[in-house]
Structures are given as structure tokens and as C-alpha cells.
């Protein structure tokens, strides 16, 4: 505890640095993986090559990648930009498959209906396909969020500062508490970001909450159907038919 009280500012600093490396990589992965996943799903014969390609990316060991990236794109060796690029490569490698699966999960009949009522391809993508791919995509984003946060710490080995620095430093100087602090904070950061991703999902996809919120407040025999003359008919058949999704769950 004495160590923590003495090094508190540095720990906070590393926490923020870790955050600043993770978030851009997660966002960049999402922005790159969605179009790639979409084309893998829709492009004729693209699915195989794209998924194999990103699978190979994931097979590259991380330490060599820290050397390869600066050579290829000219970023400084121990810079945060190198780190973010490396993290993005791994993020994309995982997320493209999720994104392809997410788009595959959108019912073809719904897309067909969207086109039939007059959506353009563009509006169909933004207003129908992407939102409906959302839940599966969100699951993928949660995976890469956690994996990215843990992967950031590897950078400490080649000298990119992050919470991982607490491991390398703690091991070298034999301060167990420092290592422990690093582990706890990385887990805490992962849990925090995962929670934020889930929260964002709830806000962006309110219809997925219906089992909890809206349906709970649904009253039996609430607003019903009106008969021809506007009076409310007795609706025994509707009561039976009113819970198709309830019955199927």
C-alpha cells in the first residue's frame, strides 16, 4: 500500500495512457471491420478470401508486429501510433468475422421488405441492415474491447508505456504489489470499457431491451383492436394470438 500511495500519480497516468491506447484501437477496428465484414458477406466469393486473410493477420505474433508496423508505415518504433496500429490489426482480425456473421444474421426477408417499401441501398444499410446486425456486432466489439485492453500491456516489453509497465517494472524491481496493481487495474479497465460498450448498445438498440423494460410494463388486455363501428369487440381470439413471441420463448 505504501508503494501505491507513493506512486499514485504515475499509476493514474499509466491508467489514462492505457485507456488512450485502447479506445482509438477499438474504434478503428470497428470502423475497418464493418465494411470488410459487409463485403465479405455480400461480395460474391469474397467471404472466403477476406476471412482467411484476416485469420492470417491474427496468426502474426505480436512482438514481430511491433517491428513490422513501423517498417511498413513509418511510425516511430516505440510510439503510441505504432501501438494503436498493432492493436487495430488484431482487433480487425477478430472483428471482421463477427461483422460478417452479424450481417449474415440479418434476415434476408427483412432486407427484401426494406427494398420493397422503397429504401435505397444506402438507407437500407444504415436504417435496417446495420441496426439489425447490431446485436451480433456488439458481441464482437465486447470481445475485442477486452482483448485490446489486455494486449496493450504487451507493449511494455518493448517500452511503450501502459499499465503493462507496472508488470515489467514490478518484476525487475521485485515489487509484488506493483504487479498486482497492474493486474487489478487492467481487469478494472476492461470491465469498465465492456460496461460502456454494453450501455452504448442498449442506448443504440432500444428494441433489444423489450424483454426487460417495455414488455414488463405491458398490460394484459391493454390497447386492443377496434371493431368496425369503433367499439372494442370482445377479443378471445386476440388474447390467444397476442403472445406469439411469448409462446416461442
Amino acid at each position: 500500500m505504501k508503494w501505491l500511495s507513493q506512486n499514485y500519480p504515475q499509476v493514474v497516468d499509466l491508467f489514462l495512457t492505457h485507456l488512450a491506447l485502447s479506445v482509438p484501437a477499438i474504434v478503428a477496428s470497428l470502423l475497418i471491420a464493418v465494411p470488410l465484414g459487409w463485403s465479405a458477406q455480400h461480395g460474391r466469393g469474397l467471404r472466403g478470401p477476406v476471412l482467411v486473410g484476416v485469420g492470417l493477420l491474427y496468426a502474426i505474433p505480436s512482438l514481430p508486429l511491433f517491428i513490422i508496423v513501423p517498417v511498413l508505415i513509418g511510425t516511430p518504433l516505440r510510439s503510441s501510433s505504432t501501438m494503436i496500429v498493432v492493436l487495430t490489426v488484431y482487433g480487425v482480425a477478430v472483428l471482421v468475422r463477427s461483422a460478417a456473421d452479424a450481417f449474415a444474421s440479418v434476415p434476408a426477408a427483412t432486407l427484401d421488405a426494406a427494398a420493397a417499401v422503397g429504401h435505397t441501398r444506402w438507407s437500407s444499410f444504415w436504417r435496417v441492415e446495420l441496426p439489425l446486425a447490431g446485436p451480433v456486432l456488439l458481441a464482437g466489439v465486447r470481445v475485442i474491447t477486452v482483448s485490446t485492453v489486455s494486449l496493450v500491456s504487451v507493449g511494455a516489453v518493448i517500452g511503450i508505456q501502459s499499465l503493462g509497465t507496472l508488470f515489467t517494472d514490478g518484476f525487475q524491481r521485485g515489487i509484488r504489489f506493483e504487479v498486482l496493481t497492474g493486474i487489478v487495474l487492467i481487469v478494472a479497465l476492461a470491465v469498465l470499457l465492456d460496461g460502456l460498450v454494453v450501455l452504448a448498445g442498449r442506448l443504440l438498440m432500444p428494441w433489444t431491451r423489450r424483454s426487460a423494460g417495455i414488455r414488463g410494463s405491458r398490460r394484459r388486455g391493454g390497447p386492443g383492436r377496434r371493431g368496425d363501428s369503433g367499439r372494442v369487440l370482445a377479443e378471445p381470439q386476440l388474447a390467444g394470438a397476442a403472445q406469439p413471441e411469448g409462446a416461442s420463448r
Partner: protein, 303 residues
Amino acid sequence: MIEFRSVRKEYADGTVAVGDLSLVVPERSTTVLLGSSGCGKTTLLRMVNRMVDPTSGTVLVDGRDVKEQDRVRLRRSIGYVLQAGGLMPHRSVLDNVATVPRLEGATRRAAHARAAELLEVVGLDPALGRRYPGQLSGGQQQRVGVARALGADPDVLLMDEPFGAVDPIVRADLQAELRRLQAELGKTVLFVTHDVDEALRLGDEVVVLRSGGVVAQQGTPAELVAAPADDFVADFLGLRSRQRQLSVREQDGRRLVVDADGRPVGVLEGSLEGSLEGSLEGSLEGSLEGSLEGSLEGEVPGA
């Protein structure tokens, strides 16, 4: 008016979905395309809003070749009701109904106000508008589907087996509702179904298709039943089935219509002034008049 001029649809593998078919769907009437699956009826329907382009031939809507029109504009100008509603599961009922006006650039507020009106038109409580489609019954979803199709106040309405996924009682209910709506709105409706009863109930004209998209017979329901063109039509309509061979039998002073097995399918009008109608009316309206009428007239046939 919708007009098909010798349209043909042939797929790359040589399958002919529609073979050289000509058909006119008159203004403000309901034409039903009736046939079993694979007879090309849905393909035909989807040619109207260019979801399918014919291999050859022309489709005209209100005299204009659809091929010369922008697909998206064309689709927005034509109402389309799909099986199981075809609703967007992630949008509220109100948003679903407001789809076309929103796509056409209406403000959210205006589109929602219009959508709420349309829900009433199709007999739904506007309070349902806040729900998601998955929270409605199958019948309610279908009504929402109809409301959405009416969104841009189209002249032409395409209905692709819209009531196929709901149970028979709700289906009969929706069919009655559609007839009421059609009497009120007078759209040009092209309706696809494989359900013979539905076709006879809803169509001003019924077109029976055989496989490969060929017209077997076209006519009013009464014409088809009275004079089926050939065995195929007679069999398809089930005219030889025992359920459609009806005769009249007297029972308790009323004339029952029974099928070939003696099973009752209804009562002849005029013989139903008795207690049945009276009590039905009475229970529906809850009015004294109905039951009075019933009990009074109930005496007559027996007397």
C-alpha cells in the same frame, strides 16, 4: 390500373416462372392471383414494383412502363403488404408505418401524426404505435403492414399472401377488414394467395394460374365456380370435393346448407329470422331490441 403485356420471366437455369402472360388489373378493383406455390404468382406481383424485372414483355402502372421509372420512386408510390407483415423488427410500430413518408422527406412529427391516423384506419389503437412489431399478435402485425402500405396514399396496393401466417379466425377477420377498407379507399389491389376461399372472398376478379405462370382461367368468383374452364381449375377450386357439393336440408324450420357428407356449412338467408339471429344480435349489440325481435320472430317459423 396495372397491365401486364405478354410478360415472361425465365431464370438463368431455364426455369420459366412466368410464361407470356397478359393481364389487366382494372382501376379500383381487387384482382387475385390464385395458384399453388411455384406458379409464378409472386414473381408476377413483384414485377409491378420492379422487385423482379421480366425477361421480356412490359408492365404498365397507370399507363406508364415501370421499366422507365426509377425503382425506388416506383416502390414508394406503390403499397406493398408482405407475408408476416415484413415489418422492421427494430423500429416501433409508428416508425414502421411512417417509413415511406420519412423516406420521402416528411418530418418525423408529420410522419408520425399520419401514421397514427393510419393505425386507426386499419382498426388499431394508436397507443400500440410505441410498441415494437414483435410485441404485437400476428393479426395486429398484418394490420400494421397494411397501414404501412397505405403510408404514401398509393393508388396501387400489392399484397403477397398477407394473411398466410395468421390463424383462420384472425384471417377471416382481416379479410373482412380488407373488404371494408377497399370499399372505403378504392385502391387498385393485386392480391396473391394460394387459399381458394380467400380468393373467392376478396377478388372482384380471380386469375387461376397453373405452374409456369400460365393463366388457366380468369373471371369473377361466380364465373369460376359456375363454369370452370377445365379439370385443372375445377380441381384447384375444389369444386368436386365433398365440402363444396352443397345441398339444402330443412331442420327445425330452418334451411341448412350442407355438404356432400351432410355436414352443415351455413343457413340459407331468409330462414334465419329465428332465434339464432335474434340472440346473436342481442349479444353483440347488447340491445333489448335484438332479443325482442328474436323472441318475437322466433315464433313465426314455428307457427
